[in-house]
């Protein structure tokens, strides 16, 4: 149930935001709150942290008071899982850029998305990956002289 999920989600996000707020306040208390030149480096973080804690508590409170059966639309866990997979692939390709260069890591990402996320044949995925990487290489480094992270092969 979406209502129950959001309620649970609100409680968890409220708790995470409250923890973040407490961390911000703790850090801010270690810095000058007010100096001769006006508010010190701790002034704004302190008040933002306080605002965060108050708002996150309100969020939890609202979630506790909300009617969990108020909405009946189901959560599409499959879609959420797919989105998370795509993000992981993106994050991995970004991490590989330093070692493999932009073009190879991007080609791997494109291959993964076409073959795994969109369920297309491997050959199609390979063609899309190579063609789009080549197009990006021709447009950015070659035509527009935009430098991109390079790998051991020099591109």
């Amino acid at each position: 149930m979406l209502g129950a999920f959001l309620k649970k989600g609100d409680v968890i996000s409220g708790a995470v935001l409250a923890a973040l707020g407490v961390f911000i306040i703790t850090q801010a208390l270690a810095w000058d709150y007010y100096t001769l030149d006006g508010p010190g480096p701790g002034f704004f973080p302190f008040w933002y942290g306080v605002a965060m804690v108050v708002l996150s508590l309100l969020l939890v409170l609202n979630a506790a008071r909300a009617d969990p059966d108020g909405e009946s639309k189901g959560v599409d866990w499959h879609a959420t899982g797919r989105a998370m997979t795509v993000w992981l692939a993106f994050a991995l390709s970004v991490g590989l850029m330093d070692f493999l260069g932009f073009l190879i890591s991007f080609a791997l990402l494109a291959f993964f998305l076409v073959a795994v996320v969109f369920h297309r044949p491997f050959l199609t995925a390979a063609v899309v990956a190579v063609a789009s990487a080549l197009a990006f290489h021709l447009i950015f480094p070659v035509a527009l002289s935009v430098s991109l992270p390079t790998g051991p092969l020099g591109f």
């Binding site: 989600g9 850090q27 100096t35 508010p39 010190g40 605002a51 708002l55 993106f90 850029m97």
Partner: protein
């Protein structure tokens, strides 16, 4: 007189070949993203922000503005022909627009949408030209206390007037403000929340947050969804509305323009509020409300005009006060800032070519959009055949290249990926992204003005309530909070959101 000469100067700037070109590029891209569901104007503007670094400021902002209002035109096309709102503000147009298309009247629906949008765009442009200069003149007299109170009001209004949960929106503002303080403190040089990472000493880049949250987050979220696009291949015949269509549409277009202009200047009212309000008004005052939902042309004319007037008028607070009224306006403000331009009333006096050039370009852009959207409608619809599996990986690569090209820093790409997943989580949990971006953009200015105000008053906090304009903003902030927090208003908000 001053306005006439300003507009003349604006047209001289906007009609320079380079600026006409960028205006066209913006309108073209806007039409495309308006048509394609899953990629909105905010994501596109965020993606193209790095490109504007190397552009002339006027050309850059003209292009970004073109994307924004161009998407409004494009969004109506798919709403009418396919019952797919390419843009959230076009949802209302689906109701009667699609019914008209089913009755074989897609042409008149598209034409009225374009005419209404053009009329509203023209009025919106005139309103900016009329109200911009006097508002900016007043704002030039503001001191630090007035600016602080105004920004506080803007942030609170943007959060509480936004669709969705008010507490969540306010929490997002606080989060944006917190992200804005990362980096070395301007006065003392103390590193705040840099965790020993050198790249964070200058703070988190605006482009990183914008691209991460709006572009990567949105694309990832859309890649999670299955493609559900039904492509319409029939040709649209007879674009000309009948005399009766025109007579029926005149009133709704005028009323929609007025409503859209009103909602446009209010911070945080969201893109769908103006068009939905116009639809509800037209249905309420209609002689026969039962026609609505079954192909009433008034249900297309009013919302489309409101939608476009809202988009144009969102520029008024941004250009005159430096106060963004929406997430897209925060992106525009960021685009000005990265060009080294301090947004606010001084833009009009110090960079008149930018202010007037942008206003004039909006009218030219609206004209381009009518030409682009009506005769070429078949081309745009066939564009829906482009498979997302080709489009989205390319957009992800483009976002990474854009980020890297700013500072040649791989760290910023990592950070963008991090903001991408955060954007996805926030979206899934029902947190609005725009208030966060507003907090992030306005945070440093809010701090600077508070600091200056307290220095001015030697630490006396009463400076915010002893100066009448500042006091008025503070009272308005408190009133907005009180009204929105009232149980009856909260209940009604939930009903409207449902």
């Amino acid at each position: 007189m001053e306005i006439a000469s300003g507009l003349l100067h604006g047209f001289a700037v906007a009609l320079q070949p380079g600026n006409v070109f960028w205006c066209f590029v913006g309108c073209l891209l806007g039409t495309i993203v308006g048509i394609l569901p899953g990629l909105g104007p905010a994501a596109t503007i965020a993606l193209l922000l790095p490109l504007t670094f190397k552009m002339d400021p006027a050309g850059g902002i003209i292009m970004l503005a073109g994307i924004y209002y161009g998407a409004k035109y494009g969004g109506s096309t798919t709403s009418i022909l396919l019952n797919i709102p390419g843009e959230s503000s076009s949802v209302v147009t689906c109701i009667d627009g699609y019914q008209m298309a089913r009755q074989g009247r897609a042409g008149p629906a598209l034409a009225i949408a374009a005419i209404g949008s053009f009329f509203a765009g023209t009025v919106g442009t005139l309103l900016i030209a009329l109200f911009g200069p006097p508002l900016a003149e007043v704002a030039l007299k503001f001191g630090a206390p007035e600016y602080f109170s105004l920004m506080l009001m803007g942030l609170v209004a943007a959060a509480v007037l936004a669709q969705g949960d008010m507490v969540k929106s306010l929490a997002m503002v606080a989060l944006g403000l917190l992200l804005g303080i990362v980096g070395n403190d301007v006065n003392t040089g103390l590193g705040r929340f840099t965790f020993g990472v050198n790249e964070l000493t200058d703070g988190i880049g605006f482009v990183v947050v914008a691209v991460g949250v709006f572009a990567v987050g949105e694309i990832i979220s859309n890649l999670g969804e299955k493609e559900r696009r039904e492509v319409f291949t029939s040709k649209v015949m007879n674009l000309f509305p009948t005399w009766d269509d025109l007579k029926r549409s005149f009133g709704p277009i005028v009323r929609g323009t007025a409503l859209g202009s009103f909602f446009g200047v209010l911070p945080g009212t969201g893109p769908a509020v103006a068009s939905l309000s116009s639809y509800l008004v037209e249905k309420k005052i209609a002689d026969d409300p039962s026609r609505f939902g079954h192909g009433a042309i008034e249900g297309v004319a009013g919302p489309e005009a409101a939608n476009n007037a809202d988009a144009q008028c969102k520029f008024i607070p941004m250009l005159t006060l430096g106060l963004p009224a929406s997430g897209v306006m925060a992106l525009m403000l960021g685009a000005l800032t990265i060009q080294g331009i301090q947004p606010g009333p001084a833009v009009m006096t110090q960079r008149p070519e930018l202010f007037w050039g942008l206003i004039a370009s909006m009218w030219i852009g609206n004209l381009m959009l009518v030409v682009l959207n009506l005769p070429l409608v078949g081309l745009w619809v066939s564009m829906l055949k482009v498979p997302y599996r080709l489009l989205f990986p390319a957009i992800m690569a483009f976002s990474a290249i854009g980020i890297y090209s700013v500072n040649n820093s791989p760290f910023e790409i990592y950070l963008t990926a991090l903001f991408g997943i955060l954007g996805l989580i926030w979206m899934k949990l029902g947190f609005s992204l725009a208030p966060m971006l507003l907090g992030f953009v306005l945070g440093p200015m809010l701090e600077e003005n508070l600091r200056r105000a307290l220095l001015m008053s030697r630490g006396n906090i009463s400076v915010f309530v002893t100066r009448p304009i500042s006091l008025a903003f503070i009272i308005a902030t408190a009133l907005i909070l009180a009204v929105i927090a009232a149980p009856a208003v909260r209940k009604r908000r939930h009903e409207i959101a449902d």
